[in-house]
């Protein structure tokens, strides 16, 4: 048929007239062969390859930037630091007031929470790896020590591989607290390497599920009257500091550490004063605590 068209042009012209669509197609045909585009799988494969390379780079950055765990504090050093931070002059706490803390304490409703001794119960839920818990424990220890005393507190650090790595702190795991005003229960769910440490009771878990639905830690419940989750100040002011250095900084009311830790301790103190009917008066009658109480 092709030969026939070649040899007999007039006949071909007749055919063109008879089949106008085919003729149109011929006219529109490009003068040169279309350039073959890049096969569709090339950019797809390139994307997957680029993502894989990025993941490897991220893993390498992570590997080379994970700091080593700091040397643990010995018991003598721990006792000295605890003695310093639990005997800070009340005038300094007054001077700091709320400091740079972020008041996350909100009123909650529910059956009044009391401990086995019948006194209002303060419940803490956190984990040793958690840097925000590490920061908050400084404030909790200082505040609670104004109403009673701890024993068995040991020094530890937050995870080496989390944000605010190796934040120096103390753990409530293995510690006991006694007070004539309030009771204190703490659950540290995992150690600094995220290995299971303590399991909450069903009642404690019910509190967490009810009042900490977002699952943020630390979570602190003040007798089912007030609660907060997350840290009331950021751990960045503690970065790279040893326990001794933090304790020393707390003696300067204008230091970032004192503004954060003591400010948060005053927030917690005010919430405890609400539970203890403002007892002891020496702690709860200070202007700073009263001012914070008025805003709770």
């Amino acid at each position: 048929m092709a030969r026939k068209r070649k040899g007999a042009r007039p006949a071909a012209k007749t055919q063109q007239k008879a089949r106008p669509q085919e003729s149109h197609a011929r006219v529109k045909r490009p003068l040169r062969k279309p350039v073959r585009g890049t096969p569709a799988w090339v950019p797809a494969l390139g994307t997957v390859g680029a993502i894989a390379i990025l993941v490897v780079v991220f893993l390498a950055i992570r590997y080379f930037n994970t700091p080593a765990a700091p040397a643990p504090a010995n018991s003598t050093q721990t006792a000295q630091v605890l003695s310093t931070i639990t005997s800070l002059p009340p005038t300094e706490l007054e001077q700091v007031g709320a400091g740079s803390s972020n008041n996350r304490i909100t009123p909650i409703t529910g059956t009044a929470l009391t401990g086995p001794g019948g006194k209002p119960l303060l419940f803490y839920y956190g984990a040793e790896y958690c840097p925000f818990c590490a920061a908050e424990r400084w404030a909790l220890i200082i505040a609670l020590s104004r109403f009673g005393s701890f024993s068995g507190l040991t020094a530890t650090t937050s995870s080496s591989s989390d944000v605010y790595a190796n934040t120096r702190t103390f753990t409530f795991h293995g510690a006991t607290y006694s007070s004539q005003y309030v009771e204190f229960q703490a659950v540290e769910t995992t150690d600094r390497n995220q290995k299971a440490l303590e399991t909450p009771t069903a009642a404690q878990l019910a509190l967490v599920n009810r009042y900490d639905s977002a699952g943020s830690i630390p979570f602190v419940d003040f007798g089912n009257r007030y609660a907060f989750n997350g840290a009331t100040y950021l751990p960045d002011s503690l970065q790279g500091l040893t326990w001794d250095q933090i304790a020393a900084d707390l003696q300067n009311p204008s230091s970032p550490q004192a503004q954060g830790i003591l400010g948060s301790a005053n927030l917690i103190t005010a919430a405890i004063c609400k539970l203890s009917a403002d007892q002891p008066a020496a702690v709860c009658s200070g202007p700073a605590v009263r001012s914070i109480e008025a805003h709770l």
């Binding site: 944000v163 995220q194 639905s213």
Partner: protein, 151 residues
């Protein structure tokens, strides 16, 4: 719209629906007391990722997964619009830009998980994979300009 393009469009829409399901689950867990179905501790640790400061948008109370719902819904919507015969070069470009933006955000989130948190959330990874597949599907349907088509 060619049969192959219709199939890809349907797959992109399917990714969107699956992504909305995953993101909705994570958002539900964020706001409710429901425990997350995921391992905790070690490198795969959803709780650690989802309770970190990066799990909410810009320090607000809005979880990052809520942004996932918006992204997947829009992605599925664009695919459905093309399937419904509203295919146009502009719509194709918007879909490509949208999926590229989603992939860029996913790269950022993976950076946060691996480098900053040292933990990976399995549910988030499922959502990230859906975004990646969506992007791959979208770029494979791009027609080269030499054949007369446009992005």
């Amino acid at each position: 719209m060619a049969g192959r393009d219709r199939l890809v469009g349907a797959l992109v829409a399917g990714m969107g629906v699956a992504g909305v399901a995953v993101s909705t689950y994570l958002t539900f867990v964020h706001y409710s007391a429901a425990p997350l179905v995921c391992s905790a501790g070690g490198a795969i640790d959803c709780e650690r990722v989802l309770t970190s400061g990066f799990a909410v948008i810009g320090g607000s109370a809005l979880p990052t997964s809520a942004a996932g719902i918006v992204w997947f819904t829009a992605s599925a919507g664009l695919a459905v619009a093309q399937l419904a015969g509203r295919d146009s070069p502009l719509l194709s470009r918007v879909q490509l830009a949208w999926s590229a933006a989603g992939l860029a955000i996913v790269v950022g989130l993976v950076f946060i998980e691996i480098v900053m948190l040292g933990a990976v959330c399995l549910w988030c990874t499922v959502a990230h994979t859906l975004v990646l597949i969506t992007f791959l599907l979208v770029i494979t349907t791009r027609r080269p300009a030499a054949e007369g088509g446009r992005a």
